[in-house]
C-alpha cells in the first residue's frame, strides 16, 4: 500500500464531514445582520429552515511539504465538494454531497482525479434555554439564537466512486482511489453559543469510521478512524444593513486524530497520528449567500511515523479552504 494512504482517507472524509456544516447559512435568514456567526469549516449547530434548499460548494486545496527521501512527492491535492441540503422540518435537515478529488504528484509520480463517493447526511437541531431542551423551532428571535444550540448529525458514504480506480501505470492505490468500496459512516455532535452580541463560539466532536474493503489487486484495507474536536470563534466585525452585508473574521482550531490503517488486518506503518490545525479566515454574508475563506496550517503534529508520512495530514504547508452557500 502506498505511504500516502492517509491522504486518500483523511482528506476525502474530512471534506464529507465538514461539508455537513452548512456554514453560516442560518445567518442568511433572519439572523444575517445580528445573529450568530459560523465557522469556516467545522460543523455548526444551525439547521436549515423548513422547506429551505441549500446549494453548497467547497474547495479545499492542500499543498504539501516535500522531502528528498519522498520523491516523487505529493505536490498538492484539491478536493471540491458540491452539496444540496433541504430543511425537512425546522429541526431536521438532510444533505447530499458529491466530492471531486484531484491528487497530483511531482514529475514521475502517479496522479489521480475524479468523482468520489457521494455521501448522505442528516442533522437534528436542538436548543437549550431557561425552559429546557427542545427541538429547534420554526421561528426563533435573535434572543432565542443567543441561547445554546446543539445538533447531532450522522451520515454515510455511498460507494458511487471507483474504489478500484487504476492509476496511469495500471496499479491500484487505496490512498488514491475514488471510493471506499463500502459505506463509511460518521457521527457527530455540535454546540454553539453567542457569547456576546458579536462573538459566537462553535464546538464540534465527531468521528468517521470505515469498513474493510478488498480491492481488485487483492489487498484488504481498512482505513483508520478519524476523530475530531473542533472549536471556532466568529466575530461580527462589520455590518452594512442597507447592503445586507456582514463580514466576520473567524479563528478555528481543529484537533484531529487518525487511527492507523490496517492492511490484511495488520497495522500499517506510516499512517495515523494526531495533529492540531489553526485556521484564521473570514466569512461574508450577502443577501442569501455566504462565502468563507480560510488558511489552515498544522501547528502541532504527533504522527506515528512522521519521517515517512509525506503527503499525509499534518504534513501540509498550508491548506486553502473556500466555501460558498446559497439559500433558496
Amino acid at each position: 500500500m502506498n505511504k500516502r494512504i492517509l491522504l486518500g482517507a483523511g482528506l476525502v472524509l474530512g471534506l464529507a464531514q465538514a461539508a455537513l456544516a452548512h456554514h453560516g447559512v442560518a445567518g442568511v435568514g433572519v439572523a444575517a445582520l445580528q445573529g450568530p456567526g459560523a465557522p469556516i469549516e467545522s460543523a455548526a449547530s444551525s439547521v436549515l429552515p423548513e422547506g429551505g434548499v441549500l446549494a453548497y460548494l467547497k474547495v479545499d486545496e492542500a499543498r504539501f511539504r516535500k522531502y528528498d527521501w519522498a520523491a516523487p512527492n505529493a505536490d498538492y491535492a484539491r478536493f471540491t465538494m458540491l452539496g444540496l441540503g433541504y430543511g425537512v422540518t425546522p429541526w431536521f435537515s438532510a444533505y447530499v454531497f458529491v466530492p471531486h478529488n484531484t491528487k497530483v504528484e511531482e514529475s514521475g509520480g502517479l496522479d489521480s482525479r475524479g468523482w468520489a463517493d457521494m455521501s448522505l447526511m442528516g442533522q437534528v437541531g436542538f436548543r437549550y434555554d431557561q425552559d429546557g431542551w427542545r427541538l429547534t423551532p420554526a421561528n426563533e428571535s435573535l434572543d432565542d439564537l443567543e441561547d445554546w444550540h446543539f445538533s447531532v448529525f450522522a451520515g454515510a458514504t455511498v460507494p458511487t466512486g471507483s474504489a478500484n480506480h487504476r492509476l496511469a501505470d495500471g496499479s491500484i492505490d487505496a490512498g488514491k482511489s475514488l471510493g471506499f468500496g463500502k459505506p463509511a459512516w460518521s457521527l457527530g455532535i455540535t454546540a454553539s453559543k453567542m457569547l456576546s452580541e458579536t462573538l459566537t463560539l462553535s464546538l464540534e466532536a465527531s468521528t468517521f469510521r470505515f469498513q474493510p474493503y478488498t480491492y481488485d489487486n487483492g489487498e484488504r484495507v481498512q482505513f483508520g478512524a478519524e476523530n475530531r474536536l473542533n472549536g471556532a470563534l466568529a466575530w461580527r466585525a462589520l455590518t452594512l444593513p442597507e447592503q445586507r452585508f456582514r463580514l466576520d473574521p473567524v479563528l478555528e482550531l481543529q484537533y484531529l486524530t487518525l487511527g492507523r490503517d490496517r492492511v490484511e488486518g495488520v497495522g500499517e506503518r506510516g499512517t495515523g497520528g494526531r495533529m492540531l490545525y489553526v485556521m484564521p479566515g473570514v466569512r461574508a454574508y450577502w443577501h442569501n449567500a455566504s462565502f468563507a475563506l480560510g488558511v489552515k496550517k498544522p501547528v502541532w503534529t504527533d504522527l506515528n511515523e512522521s519521517s515517512t508520512q509525506q503527503g499525509a495530514e499534518g504534513k501540509e504547508k498550508y491548506r486553502l479552504v473556500f466555501s460558498a452557500s446559497l439559500m433558496f
Binding site: A26, V28, G29, V30, A31, A32, L33, P49, G52, D129, Q130, P137, A138, N139, E140, S141, L142, D143, D144, E146, P241, E242, R244, N288, M327
Partner: protein, 231 residues
C-alpha cells in the same frame, strides 16, 4: 425564517411610527399618557406635547377581568382614572404624507411630489398586575400579550409573547425590545424576547397593510406592551 428579513429590515430603517414612544405612567391610582424619548435610545426631548384629541379610547380591565371604557379628558397629557390591572390606550395621529420637501400630517390627496403616505395608529398596553385576565388578549387591534407573569421574569431571561390582531394570532410581525428589533412572530403569533434591564419594559410591534381609501398608501399600526420589573 428567510422571509422575515424584509419586514425586519423595514423596521430597522426607521418607521416614522416609532419616532416617539408612548407610555403610561402611574400617578397615584391614575395613569398619565406620555409621549417622548425618556425610554428610547435615541436623542430627543424627554416628553413631547401631543394633541389629546388623538387619544381615541382607553380600556381598563381590573384584576377580576371586568372591563370599563375610560373617559378621555381633553387636556394633554391625558390622565386616566385607575386602578387597572391592564390598561390599553388607542392613539390615532391620522394621515401622513412624505413629499419631496417635507412630511405633512394630512392625506396625500391634493399634494404634489408625494413619496409615501400612511395612516398612523398606535396602541399602548400597560400591565400593572398579573391576573388571568392579563394573560389573554383584550382583542382590540394590534396587541402584544405576555404568556406568563412578566413580573416574575428575571433580568436576562426570556419572556414569551403573543402578537394578535383583534385577538387572532398574527405571524410575521416584527417585535422590538426598546429600539432593537429582535425578531418576528411565528406562525402561532409567538415570539420570545429577553428582558435585559430592570425598570420599565417597552416591547413594540408594528404592522403595515395596504390602504385603498385614496388618502394614503398604507395603514401603519403599532402597539407597545409595557410593564415594570425590579431592577
Amino acid at each position: 425564517m428567510r422571509q422575515v428579513l424584509i419586514p425586519l429590515l423595514a423596521l430597522l430603517f426607521a418607521s416614522p411610527l416609532l419616532a416617539h414612544d408612548l407610555w403610561l405612567e402611574a400617578a397615584g391610582s391614575d395613569y398619565l399618557l406620555l409621549q417622548g424619548h425618556r425610554h428610547s435610545g435615541h436623542a430627543g426631548a424627554e416628553t413631547v406635547a401631543y394633541d389629546a384629541a388623538r387619544v381615541a379610547g382607553a380600556l381598563c380591565v381590573d384584576a377580576d377581568g371586568r372591563r370599563r371604557e375610560l373617559t378621555v379628558p381633553a387636556q394633554s397629557p391625558v390622565r386616566l382614572a385607575g386602578p387597572c390591572a391592564v390598561l390599553q390606550v388607542s392613539y390615532v395621529s391620522g394621515y401622513w404624507t412624505k413629499t419631496a420637501w417635507e412630511t405633512k400630517n394630512q392625506p396625500k390627496t391634493g399634494l404634489t411630489g408625494v413619496l409615501r403616505s400612511w395612516h398612523s395608529q398606535e396602541a399602548v398596553k400597560r400591565i400593572g398586575q398579573w391576573s388571568p385576565a392579563s394573560a389573554k388578549p383584550l382583542g382590540v387591534g394590534l396587541e402584544i400579550t405576555p404568556l406568563r407573569d412578566p413580573f416574575t421574569v428575571k433580568i436576562g431571561d426570556k419572556l414569551n409573547l403573543l402578537v394578535t390582531d383583534d385577538g387572532q394570532p398574527l405571524a410575521g410581525v416584527p417585535v422590538a425590545y426598546g429600539d432593537d428589533t429582535r425578531g418576528v412572530s411565528g406562525a402561532d403569533g409567538q415570539i420570545a424576547i429577553r428582558l435585559r434591564h430592570g425598570g420599565l419594559q417597552l416591547l413594540t410591534a408594528s404592522r403595515e397593510t395596504p390602504l385603498n381609501d385614496g388618502k394614503a398608501d398604507v395603514s401603519l399600526r403599532s402597539t407597545s406592551l409595557q410593564f415594570e420589573i425590579s431592577r
